[in-house]
């Protein structure tokens, strides 16, 4: 069970909002890069986020580039999961590969700063602030296994190959 605060964003948050290409020179310095997380969507995000918070997006969250640095800086910021109405495909796969859960549910029912309880096993989101209870759609089994191992690299370290 994950518990934390919702930090709400709108639709179409791109990888350039999350971590823009102009900061490519900081990619080998992750602590420095991570200070800019979500900067072009919310310049105050890095100071606002606290460990355990959830990023709650609208539709097509994470569209754009394949840069894995986007979910990586979100993970480094302490965010425990991303909730959105829909998520761009590469971002989705990248986040799971880093062990960062991405949950598809009707985020219109969640407001900024709401307190949430996420049950990954039951597939539910409990909005404690407004009493709404949401279910999120199923994640493909192979991704659940990768998530269980904490990401793709630990998964490969353990299994040496894809076990489908």
């Amino acid at each position: 069970m994950l518990t934390g605060r919702a930090l709400k964003f709108g639709d179409n948050i791109s990888t350039d909002h999350i971590i823009p290409g102009r900061l490519a020179h900081l990619r080998s310095n992750l602590p420095e890069l991570a200070k800019h997380v979500m900067e072009d969507a919310d310049p105050d995000f890095a100071s606002r986020v606290t460990p355990g918070d959830f990023i709650v997006g609208g539709s097509n969250f994470g569209l754009g580039s394949s840069r894995e640095h986007a979910p990586l800086v979100i993970k480094i910021s302490g965010v425990s999961a991303i909730l959105a109405k829909s998520v761009a495909r590469i971002f989705f796969r990248n986040a799971i590969n880093l062990g960062l859960p991405v949950l598809i549910c009707d985020t219109d029912k969640i407001n900024d700063e709401d307190k949430l309880e996420v049950d990954l096993v039951a597939g539910t989101v409990n909005d404690i602030t407004n009493g709404n209870r949401l279910t999120f759609s199923e994640i493909p089994e192979v991704m659940l296994h990768i998530l269980d191992e904490g990401g793709l690299i630990p998964y490969i370290q353990k299994h040496g190959d894809f076990k489908l």
Binding site: N12, H17, P20, G21, S66, I90, F162
Partner: protein, 417 residues
């Protein structure tokens, strides 16, 4: 039951009956990363415990995004990638060779291949009839080591394109129109499969432009059949032996069929800050533009430079509008010199950048100032994309870009040709 292009290619490369929705593990014919995603790929490759590449001659690194490097940190990343190539024996393309997707199209990908790259526009090779898709560094690192990866076989949307383009309208206008209609989320997780009489006549350059932007509708792949035009292209690249016909089955199942008659299209532009925010170029007349950028993996090919050069020949850029041109590869640059296009562009006061990504992602060579607007032939206009969140980006065809460079405001190219 028949198969879509995606199902056919993934069936063949996974040795299983791949159907939309199923999960398969497929061999990759080519796996690559570029200079902004490559360093993390190398880190993840090493963290996974791999010592060797599964197939060094099917693994490639490209130094194209920051080429030549604008600062010492990126120079160090280049050193790391060159060392990795030397240690593992993989292919490496250095600064000045060109943009990864263009080089993959020119010399590496084959019809029927599965290609993955740590860059979202890997979909470009779909123009050749390859199932090509972008992934992140971890997935690509694992494919470096295993020579394969897992896929969820996508549902397909069939786009049937018919009719003849009117003057001043190009493949770029078609794909912007399509994305504007289905939305930036309209094909998420799907393959966009193109067919129809217009596609049967379409040049490879235009097919690459369309396949390249499939990802801007969220698609996992943008697929074209591999026909005689593909064959002729491969022969012209000295690799006719790489051709094999690849077509979908006539009775394949599609989630949706979209019909477009290109004769009805007009020059189209994406307005800031999403690609699906389209308007006709003519409707945006009066929008002042401080920089025009012609290039990228979307529209930096010889045909694109030809269109721009023919419009700009004997004319000059507007005094308030900078004009920057980046050929997609060395081959494109050399051919454009030979054809006289570079001469015409320079005489029109264009700045010619070395082959590579140039100003596309805001790292160097054409970063926008506060409040400035750019008309670019690239594929993305997200806030901050060209290095400044206080700037605006409009996307259009090379013809619209050239016309805009002349007038200094967004212009329907039919007004100047």
């Amino acid at each position: 039951m028949g198969k879509t292009l995606a199902e056919k290619i993934l069936s063949q490369k996974s040795g299983s009956d791949a159907r939309a929705g199923s999960i398969v593990v497929a061999e990759v014919a080519l796996v690559f990363a570029q200079d902004t995603t490559g360093p993390l790929t190398v880190t993840q490759f090493q963290a996974s415990g791999f010592q060797n590449l599964a197939n060094p001659n099917k693994t490639a690194l490209f130094l194209d995004h920051a080429a030549p490097s604008p600062n010492y940190r990126l120079s160090s990343e280049h050193i790391l990638l060159r060392q990795f190539a030397q240690q593992t024996g993989c292919l490496i393309f250095d600064i000045g060779d060109g943009i990864c997707h263009q080089l993959v199209a020119e010399s590496l990908a084959k019809p029927g291949d599965v290609v993955i790259g740590a860059d979202s526009h890997t979909v470009t090779a779909g123009g050749l009839g390859a199932f090509a898709t972008g992934m992140g560094s971890s997935d690509v690192a694992v494919a470096f080591g295993l020579g394969k990866t897992w896929f969820r076989v996508p549902e397909s949307i069939k786009v049937v394109v018919s009719g003849n383009f009117v003057e001043g309208v190009y493949a770029k206008d078609l794909i912007l129109h399509l994305i504007g209609n289905i939305g930036a989320n309209g094909a998420t997780y799907r393959a966009l499969e193109f067919s129809g009489d217009t596609v049967d006549r379409m040049s490879m350059s235009q097919r690459f432009t369309i396949a390249n932007m499939a990802v801007e509708a969220g698609a996992k792949a943008g697929l074209f059949p591999a026909d005689n035009i593909t064959k002729d292209y491969l022969i012209s690249q000295g690799r006719g032996n790489h051709y094999q016909p690849v077509f979908p089955d006539a009775d394949a199942t599609y989630e949706q069929i979209i019909n477009i008659n290109v004769a009805e299209l007009e020059p189209t532009v994406s307005k800031p800050n999403t690609v699906d925010n389209i308007a006709l170029a003519g409707e945006l007349k009066g929008t002042k533009i401080q920089q025009v950028f012609i290039g990228t993996c979307t529209n930096g090919r010889l045909e694109d430079l030809a269109v721009a050069a023919n419009i700009l020949k004997g004319k000059k850029r507007h005094p308030d509008t900078r004009l920057i041109v980046a050929p997609a590869s060395r081959q494109v640059l050399l051919a454009a010199i030979e054809a006289g296009y570079i001469q015409s562009l320079i005489e029109a006061e264009a700045v010619i950048l070395p082959p590579g990504c140039g100003a596309c992602l805001g790292l160097h060579q054409g970063v926008l100032g506060d409040g400035e607007s750019c008309l670019s032939t690239a594929n993305r206009n997200f806030k901050g994309r060209m290095g400044n969140p206080q700037a605006s980006i409009y996307l259009g065809s090379p013809a619209t870009a050239a016309a805009t460079a002349i007038t200094g405001e967004i212009t329907d190219p039919r007004e100047v040709i």
